[in-house]
Amino acid sequence: MTAIKKIWENVSGLWSLIVGLRITGKNFMDKQITLHYPRETVSKSQLEGFRGPLELVGKPKDPGSPKCIACMMCVSACPSNCLTVVKAKAPVLTEEELQAMKDAEARGEKVTKPKAPKEPIKFIYDFTLCSLCGSCVENCAVNSLRYSSNVYLASTDRNDFKMDLLARLATQAQAKTPPTEPENSTRED
């Protein structure tokens, strides 16, 4: 019985060969999906799902500054230590202001010390280390990170891949380039 079963398995395996041929045959007939690069440029639809180096997402109202709240989740999620985020410090108070606060406290008023703003003052990203794994994108609480669609990235200097994402965002906002991808399009796969 097992022998017959074995033989049948082999024979039905033949069918899978034909299926394979059909697939490659169909691909052969299909349109090609690559470009003749220097002569053609990559269109937007072809970049769907492309994972370029990371970039920051700007606030809807203020596209020049990031949504980022400097929570450092991305930094601790990154397995390759690509990200360096420096949190903004609390503003340093002058002597008079300090005095004024003390006076107010003495009068029994409620005084709130100025807190550090929830934003980064430095956001450095080292693309040479990044494996585009997406842990940072997934872990960001406010969806402040996404993949860019920069396919033409090339350089002869590795330092060019240490990117200041804040500066990048600022220039992007200034150039008023429409965002390369819709806001919530970090791809899930």
């Binding site: 490659t24 299909d30 090609q32 003749h36």
Partner: protein, 323 residues
């Protein structure tokens, strides 16, 4: 001058023509292989040199010829360089009895089929020498595989061919072609479909074509028997592989697909067209199937092709005897 027999002159002309044919076909097949691979992977394939990359094979050839011929340290220089020559020269000889057309046959011989089968065995020797002579472990492993594989696949191939020889009662390829008609239902492949399939699969194994390209499996053996070859040393193996592909396809066309017979007008173009269809199928197979494991390779042969071929032969013999 008058003493020189006509037959000899004809043979010489045929050999020169065959050499040209093999060289040209090598270029065409390199181009085709890369283009088909490209299209199956939905990229253009070679595109930059010449219109649609047509000159790419020429550029490749120039590059190959220009490379230094290098003999590895402690290798057996004589065997090392003998191997590509042994691999390539008999391939030319194999074309002699193939009937490309009613008159375009290098030499009519009664044992044409036997000659092809006998001389095609030399390729195994070449691979064996190449692997052995290179002083390289990968080379030796590739050679060992080549021998095991070729010896194994030769048998079902022979049995399949023998079935046709039984049926037509001849080993002369021209005669076998003559026995078939122009339309597909008059071909031997219709009478003997099993033999045709067995022949084709064994032919893939014999020519070391993927999925049976174990002697040069680059993922396991870097490049197997030709790991150490540079420039035209490698080039000759390459040409020989393509020449052998054309031979096995030509024999398949002559034996099974009606040779130069075709609907309406007979002629060499039918022969070439059929050969090229088979070659395209071979290339298609290469870019579809993953390489088999070595035990799978031998299992396919000894457990399936051999018994089936034997069975087919027995039935053929029985039927021929009865009718």
């Amino acid at each position: 001058m008058s003493q020189i027999p006509v037959e000899l002159v004809k043979l010489l002309i045929a050999l020169v023509a065959i050499a040209a044919f093999v060289g040209l076909n090598g270029l065409v097949l390199v181009y085709l292989e890369r283009k088909v691979a490209g299209h199956i992977q939905r990229r253009p394939g070679p595109f930059e040199v010449g219109p649609h990359g047509l000159l790419q094979p020429l550029a490749d050839a120039v590059k190959l010829i220009g490379k230094q011929l290098f003999t590895p340290k402690n290798a057996d220089g004589f065997l090392f360089w003998l191997a590509p020559i042994i691999s390539f020269l008999p391939a030319l000889l194999l074309f002699v009895p193939i009937p490309f057309g009613p008159v375009a046959t290098g030499m009519e011989m009664n044992l044409g089929l036997l000659l092809i089968l006998a001389f095609s065995g030399l390729n195994v020797l070449a691979l064996c020498l190449a692997g052995w002579g290179s002083n390289n472990k990968y080379g030796v492993l590739g050679a060992a595989r080549a021998v095991a594989q070729s010896v194994a696949y030769e048998i079902p191939l022979l049995l399949a061919v023998l079935a046709i020889a039984f049926q037509t009662g001849s080993l002369n390829l021209s005669e076998i072609v003559q026995g078939q008609g122009g339309w597909p239902w008059q071909w031997n492949a219709m009478v003997q479909p099993l033999a045709f399939i067995i022949y084709f699969v064994s032919a893939l194994g014999e020519t070391n074509r993927a999925p049976f390209d174990l002697p040069e499996a680059e993922s396991e053996l870097t490049a197997g028997f030709h790991t150490e070859y540079s420039g035209m040393g490698f080039g000759l193996f390459f040409l020989a592989e393509y020449a052998n592909m054309i031979v096995v396809c030509s024999v398949a066309v002559a034996l099974f697909l009606g040779g130069w017979h075709g609907p309406f007008f007979d002629g060499s173009w039918w022969f070439l067209a059929k050969v090229y269809v088979l070659l395209l199928i071979m290339i298609w197979l290469r870019w579809t199937f993953p390489r088999v494991r070595f035990d799978q390779l031998l299992n396919i042969n000894w457990k399936w092709l051999m018994p089936l071929a034997l069975l087919n032969l027995l039935i053929t013999a029985f039927v021929t005897k009865l009718s």
